[in-house]
C-alpha cells in the first residue's frame, strides 16, 4: 500500500531540490520553476473518479539539465520519473497553474483540471477516451470545460465513440 499520495511525494521532491540548491550543492544558486500538467496533475485534482498513471511526471520548466538530473534522482525514490519530452507536449496557452510548492529556489505549480482534460483529448484522444467518459460521468463538466471544448472545436461525440 502506498504511504504517501502523489501530491505529498511531489512536495517532498521539490523540498529536497530546494534544499540542495540553497546549500549550493547543484552548481550555481538559481530559481527554477515547474508547471506540472498531464496525468500526474490530474491525479491530484478532485476528479471524483478513479485514475491510473505511469511513472511520468510532465512539467514545463526553466530548469537546466543539471537541476533536472537531481530532480529526476529525487523522483526515482518514489518510482517516478521526469518526462524529458514534456516541453513538446501541448497545453492550452491560457492554462491556469496553481501553487503546489514555493520555496527559496523552487516554485512548482499544478495545472487546473479542465485544461488537462482538454489537452489530453487533443493530444491523445484514443488513449484518454475513458478519462473523458469518466470525467463526464462524474458530473464534472464545468462551464470552463465547455468553453474550452468550444474554443478548440473538439468533437466530443467522436472522441467518446473512439472515431478519432
Amino acid at each position: 500500500m502506498e504511504t504517501l499520495n502523489l501530491k505529498s511525494k511531489l512536495v517532498t521532491v521539490f523540498e529536497e531540490l530546494d534544499t540542495k540548491i540553497s546549500l549550493g550543492e547543484i552548481g550555481k544558486k538559481e530559481h527554477v520553476e515547474f508547471n506540472i500538467f498531464g496525468q500526474s496533475a490530474l491525479l491530484e485534482a478532485k476528479v471524483g473518479f478513479e485514475l491510473e498513471q505511469s511513472k511520468d511526471i510532465d512539467a514545463y520548466t526553466n530548469a537546466s539539465n543539471i537541476f533536472l538530473f537531481e530532480f529526476n534522482d529525487f523522483l526515482k525514490k518514489f518510482q517516478l520519473s521526469y518526462d524529458s519530452l514534456s516541453r513538446e507536449a501541448w497545453m492550452p496557452p491560457e492554462t491556469v497553474y496553481r501553487i503546489l510548492y514555493e520555496g527559496d529556489f523552487v516554485t512548482a505549480r499544478i495545472a487546473d483540471l479542465e485544461y488537462i482534460i482538454v489537452s489530453k483529448i487533443i493530444n491523445a484522444p484514443t488513449k484518454n477516451r475513458m478519462i473523458l467518459i469518466n470525467y463526464l460521468n462524474a458530473g464534472n463538466a464545468s462551464v470552463l470545460f465547455k468553453d474550452l471544448v468550444k474554443k478548440y472545436n473538439i468533437n466530443l461525440e467522436k472522441v467518446i465513440n473512439g472515431d478519432v
Binding site: N5, L6, Q39, E52, S54, Q79, I133
Partner: protein, 107 residues
C-alpha cells in the same frame, strides 16, 4: 449533439471495472509501473488474459504490459497461448508500438 446527449453517450460507453481489473492494477502499482488515486492491495499473480481485458478499460495497462512481463514475470500466471504481438516482444523484437502504444520507454 447538445450536452445532455453527450453526457448520455458517455454513460452508455462506460466500462465497468471488475475485481480482476483491480487485481491487475494492484500488481502494476506493487511493481511501480502505475500509480493511482485510490488504494489497491493485490499482490498475487494475474493472467495475461485479465491484463489484456483490463487494458481495454485503461490503455496505460497495455502500455506497461511488456515491461511487466519482461521485468516482473513472477506476477504473471504462466501461459502457453500468448498473443503473437506480445510473444514477439518477449522474444526480443522491439516494434515501435504495442497495440498502438509506446511501451519501449518502460522496459
Amino acid at each position: 449533439m447538445n450536452w445532455e446527449e453527450i453526457e448520455a453517450l458517455a454513460r452508455a460507453k462506460t466500462k465497468k471495472r471488475d475485481a480482476n481489473f483491480y487485481k491487475v492494477i494492484g500488481v502494476l502499482v506493487k511493481v511501480g509501473l502505475l500509480h493511482t488515486n485510490y488504494v489497491t492491495t493485490y499482490t498475487g499473480k494475474v493472467s495475461v488474459e485479465d491484463i489484456l481485458k483490463a487494458g481495454e478499460i485503461e490503455p496505460r495497462i497495455l502500455e506497461v504490459l511488456p515491461a511487466l512481463m519482461l521485468n516482473f514475470g513472477e506476477y504473471i500466471v504462466p501461459s502457453k497461448n500468448l498473443p503473437k504481438d506480445l510473444m514477439a516482444i518477449l522474444e526480443g523484437e522491439r516494434p515501435v508500438e504495442f497495440r498502438g502504444l509506446n511501451y519501449r520507454q518502460w522496459i
